[in-house]
Symmetry: C2
Subunit: 128 residues, 2 copies
Amino acid sequence: MGSEKRNLDELFGRVTEYFSPRIVGAVDGVYIKVVKVKGQDVPWHTHDGQDEMFFVVAGALTVELEGRNPVVLNVGEFVIVEHGTRHRVFSEEECRVMLIENKDTVHTGDVLAAITKSVAEQLDPGEP
Amino acid sequence: MGSEKRNLDELFGRVTEYFSPRIVGAVDGVYIKVVKVKGQDVPWHTHDGQDEMFFVVAGALTVELEGRNPVVLNVGEFVIVEHGTRHRVFSEEECRVMLIENKDTVHTGDVLAAITKSVAEQLDPGEP
């Protein structure tokens, strides 16, 4: 991806599907991804050895962590779900989220769901 | 830092010094940091084995990569400076940047500068 300038609006503009993360960069062992969320399609799941950051760029995202009250993230807010923490996310209206997660992380964790995408499927076709 | 919700405006509000990154989270091997930039205090430097992401949250940041034209990042834009790429950043007016970089990265790379801060100095005192 070669140290090129990238624009989040443009990157989100290419995303046509909900719950389908697109890899837009890599920093050492983690991927930077963009994902649009609308609805309640993400199952409860856990990443045993990996943290996962949700940073809201537009709209609002609800993050549920097992055994706690749901947290609503608005624009400019983030949560880092620590490894081993069972969680799910949803949004009534469309929202735009930057995800930061380990290159090895399966975005639906230990659960294979209808929305589960492989890393190959997450690679931005606009990228070399 | 325990999967708590965090707000960028609040985090930047605690930053009183330019060129002084504050660690506001960790995702596996990388730190998430916030830094205010104003001026030309960052020397040209290189991180040999580590990538570094600059994501602009407010204002505009100029990123210079050796041998290329300078790149101006506005709000919502980012560059991932690949490891081994000599670079420096500056801003005429105050800007707010989210940094994503390896836990081992020295923010001024191979160059010890007046602004160089250790990781201990970058830890947010508001954090447990």
